[in-house]
Amino acid sequence: MALSLEYVAKETSNNLRRNFLMTTGAILCVFVSLTIVGIALVLKAGVSRASVQWRHGVDMSIFMDPTAPPQETTAVRTQLQGEVGTDVRSFFYCTQACAYSEFKTMFANSPEFQESVSESDLPPSFRVVPTHPQLIEQVGDKYSNQPGVKSVVYAKDAIKGLLTVTHYAQVACVSLAVILLILAVMLIVNTIRMAIFSRRREVAVMKLVGATNWFIRIPFMVEGMVQGLLGAIAASIAVYLLRNVVYSLVGRNNILNNLVASTHDVIGTGIAILVVGVVVGAAGSAAAVSRFLDV
């Protein structure tokens, strides 16, 4: 099938212009829904970065002195192992290398801070998941005066609260976005249907003179994908700008700084948004083409 790129580009841009209002509506709908998805994803990335130490239900960290001799570390480990099954559900040891990679994640937005600290400055730690979170301080007290232990730190209620709130916020955002995405698919179906209807004479002639079915379909399908893609590009830019606005409002080196997603996270989110946008556009136009274009 000889279907030139030039032909598809010409047909698609003509269709998009002819149906300007409907096209704009569909693009805006994709844009709004994907911006919400993007905000949810970036928020999630920011929170999970700030709370990297407290993942997997860890409630207590026993920080060792970086200079503590190995036998002191082994003593703490042995004692913790003895409590597994009673007060301690599980624990793991985070080496200096592990601590450094966490540190880099947390301060991804402050490169100058990262440079001033090296791996050997950071304390290794035991991450403890207690059997009963309310008894955590009783467990911690036993270790705070052990030789080689620098300090015992507990997960603060604020962090736990933050994790819960952002979880519900994400669920709400994603539900809203899914509804809006369904609406976007419907709008794209309708736009393509109108494009097919406004060109029914041409389609009839094309069938008559023996144009292949794909030759007739492809410009309509590309039209839907372009709508999805344009909405997604706008949404990616919006998410990126929003994140920068928040970043500049928060200010550098502020403690909230850690909550702002890194550029890396934003780029990942942008790619996800573009993929979803193209998929939405393709789904809408495929549905329209198969239902309303009898070729």
Partner: protein, 227 residues
């Protein structure tokens, strides 16, 4: 070139459009399809382009049994068949040139060929000087010539015409018939459904008469009817 073998076609199982119809048309023939409205002439033509499928019987077009044709091959069947209509079916927002070029573009012909073929075709139908006009700026006869140019531009083996002179006055019709005859002389098989008694009687070609879906007469060098 075209063969129908005991073909029956009815709509919604009540209206019988064609009943046990057997016809054989050789390459290069010029055939008139006559009969009153509703006798099955249009159905006959639509079966040949596979816009309709028969309930029973077989249809061969250009050596192929088109019942066996898979759907994706139908466009390639239609590239062998040009169609001319009573209402022309031109695209109103495209110029004469673009209307004819469109038929080539959508089957993937290169631009060089389009630029070469379209003016040549428009000269053949006598519209070489009106290439840039829009269809509504042309007379009925001229519009029909554009339609014929579009049907014939990719040199199909068969030309089907469904009452091509139905909307035209007698002298304009005469010109269209001369054009169709000329196309026929290039070796193209022409099948024309018509109500125009004068034309059929003058041309003296093969006449197939249908009545309520049945072939009632198949006559070489025939006339419109005895009645």
């Amino acid at each position: 070139m075209i063969r129908l073998d005991n073909v029956t076609k009815s709509y919604k199982n009540t209206t019988v459009a064609l009943r046990d119809c057997t016809v054989d048309i050789a390459k290069g023939e010029f055939v008139f399809l006559v009969g009153p409205s509703g006798s099955g002439k249009s159905t006959f033509l639509r079966l040949l382009t596979k816009e309709e499928s028969p309930e029973s019987g077989h249809i061969w077009v250009a050596g192929k049994d088109i019942n066996e044709l898979s759907p994706w091959k139908v466009p390639f069947l239609r590239r062998n068949i040009g169609c001319v209509f009573q209402d022309f079916k031109l695209l109103p927002n495209k110029s004469v040139y673009e209307n004819v070029a469109f038929a080539l573009e959508v089957i993937g012909v290169t631009r060089a060929v389009v630029r070469n073929q379209v003016p040549q075709m428009l000269d053949l139908v006598g519209l070489g000087k009106k290439m840039d006009n829009l269809p509504h700026e042309l007379s009925g006869g001229e519009q029909q010539r554009v339609c014929i140019a579009r049907a014939f531009v990719n040199r199909p083996l068969i030309l089907l015409a469904d009452e091509p002179t139905g909307n035209l006055d007698p002298s304009t019709s005469e010109g269209i018939m001369r054009l169709l005859h000329r196309i026929n002389r290039t070796g193209t098989t022409v099948v024309m459904a018509t109500h125009d008694r004068g034309i059929v009687d003058r041309m003296r070609q093969r006449v197939i008469e249908l009545d309520r879906g049945t072939v009632v007469r198949d006559q070489d060098r025939g006339v419109y009817g005895y009645g």
